[in-house]
Symmetry: C2
Subunit: 335 residues, 2 copies
DNA sequence: TGGAAATACGTGAACGTTCACGTGCTGCAT
DNA sequence: ATGCAGCACGTGAACGTTCACGTATTTCCA
């Protein structure tokens, strides 16, 4: 058996170690480390030097305990690999950084975790939570106690702050566009997720019914690859489709691939509209017409809401704690 | 002037508040909250109930102080919006979560921040750092003191742990492929970044010289849009290019657009090879041949290295603290 | 009915900082 | 000589937990 050397778990140097080494008191070390006045230049330098040699870095816990918390924001994301989320996360991080907060992320897509697992992990570490939680928002809120929770893209708000999207409006925009492009046989490809998918699906179905459109509905996992397969078999079953609305842009990219595989020209043979407006849409061929969302604005709104909830300017569960954002139709080549 | 109500900055409830409300001691509250033995079921329930009512959640600082740190890992990312990084970040988060660590991210792309700003922000909050820092790794290490630092894609390791890539090998693979595709006039589009770009550029130039290839070099910012413009003007200046190697896949996607704009067929008129192997490459048309990197493996390697540095199994600055990964040529349609 | 063991709780100390003071010393004007 | 200001530094207390004990009260068997 080779040595199971467990390494230098030696006890980190504390402020007292530095003080002893320098022959001064705690407070003088504090003054040196934090560039406070009331200390001579020579002492300051000597202490800093010694601190570096001992590998001293102040305990964030002790500091936090005595100074009061620097806010830390939990960010629960289903899957950072899905290009929708980085755009959003990036904006949250930027906005939080501007406020001097820091952001603890949890990606619960891998492994069998649900959103609530992420909340459980983040809970003890953070002062507030923002997340795309497929799970019930009130569950999350109860795990966080009085601390602010903002849930995105969830059907109906309970006790938590909520940012949702006006899918009825979005669906109407998309269907109008497809109709004016003379599409007759329209399909909607939904994702097989819990919350958002059904919401979007219902909104699209309702809008179609309202507009007298007979809608074919398909479903796939939330990935380009899965969408490609789903559209492939959709085309096999329902040959005559000439308009396709897709759950999101990533899946729409897969749909474009499937249409190309089947020899259908886009938009001539079949128009395609995606959803959410991620940068990817401009890089595929043909470029994707989409119901665009300003994802940076979504992130900003989420952090703003947290800020307002934390400061008490907005009451959790009140009308003001729910925000509905609208998509915007961006015309490119695919429809 | 309307009320500038500053909200309930009231002082968070502490364990003593709960104890008082329940008529028990601190310790009993601790037992109730942490599901420890030595407490009756009825008391436990009553305390938990009261805690919820008072909105009590234990201070992570006090807890951390007395229990010893739960490891938290800083992750410094230049730009989450660039699809290279989420794939990496996602893997780091997953790997860290498995170890029970949590991850604090900082995206320093927005604003004028350099990597060192991110290190300064993260430094006080974390026990170790992983990052794509354009800045000098030894600067970062000195800001972190004895705490582990792992820098990615940086030319030469100093005091910090280092994960870099064998660009000589990668360049050779790419140029061989282009040569065997009968490309005569080959260009390399570099990014205008500090560290990595020059490294890659030098490697490509060296490999070209070694293979007797005369190389045209262009440069652009690290985005699809900028690359599109750069390739547009490259084609205007140097009409005869029939092979193009690009700094990364995102820029390669822009290059594909520019070639299409100019009426060049890919790969017939001009072959294109990207770098890093992000999922986007499979979604563009034609699908992108690329020097692929297993980004999840990169994240795994980074967290492993941090783990080893932290436990002392590997000494910072030693040979073992440097790891060189190799790209792999993935043939798709564009070359 | 004695006494040991189990149960349910309480108390001092410690974690590592910073804050709000307090103290000694030097220099300088009166 | 006296007083007073300013500088450089030190000390008790506090932040909110948990840990390692200690202590009543009850239980249960011989």
């Amino acid at each position: 058996m080779t040595s199971s050397y467990s390494g230098p778990q030696v006890r980190r140097a504390t402020i007292l170690d530095v003080a002893a080494a320098a022959g001064v008191s705690r407070q003088t070390v504090t003054r040196a480390m934090n560039d406070m006045p009331g200390i001579s230049a020579s002492t300051r330098e000597r202490v800093q030097q010694l601190a570096a040699e001992l590998g001293y870095s102040p305990s964030r816990f002790a500091k936090g305990l005595v100074q009061g918390a620097r806010t830390s924001l939990g960010l629960a994301i289903p899957d950072l690999t899905n290009p929708y989320f980085p755009a959003f996360a990036s904006s949250v991080v930027e906005e939080a950084t501007q406020r001097g907060w820091n952001v603890v992320v949890d990606d619960f897509g891998h492994g069998s975790g649900s959103g609530l697992d992420a909340v459980a992990r983040l809970g003890p570490q953070v002062d507030a939570l923002v997340g795309y939680l497929g799970a019930s928002s009130s569950e999350a809120q109860s795990m966080m106690g009085r601390r602010p929770v903002v849930v995105l893209d969830y059907p109906s708000g309970q006790s938590a702050g909520l940012i949702s999207f006006d899918y009825a409006y979005a669906a109407q925009l998309a269907l109008e566009r497809l109709k004016s492009a003379r599409c007759r046989r329209i399909a909607y490809l939904d994702a097989d997720l819990e919350g958002p998918a059904t919401t979007r699906g219902l909104a699209v179905a309702a809008a179609a019914a309202g507009a007298g459109i007979q809608l074919t509905v398909g479903q796939s996992a939330d990935s380009a690859h899965a969408a490609r397969e789903a559209v492939r078999s959709l085309l096999a079953d329902e040959g005559g489709i000439d308009g396709l609305l897709v759950f999101n842009d990533l899946m729409a990219a897969g749909a474009l691939k499937a249409l190309r595989d089947a020899g259908r020209r886009v938009p001539e043979d079949c128009a395609v509209i995606g959803m959410d407006g991620i940068p990817l849409g401009e890089l595929v061929t043909p470029e994707l017409t989409t119901l665009s969302l300003d994802l940076r604005a979504v992130g900003r709104a989420a952090v703003d809401l947290v800020d307002n909830l934390m400061s008490g300017r907005i009451q959790a569960g009140s009308r003001d704690s729910e925000l509905v954002l609208k998509h915007q139709l961006v015309l490119r080549q695919s429809a």
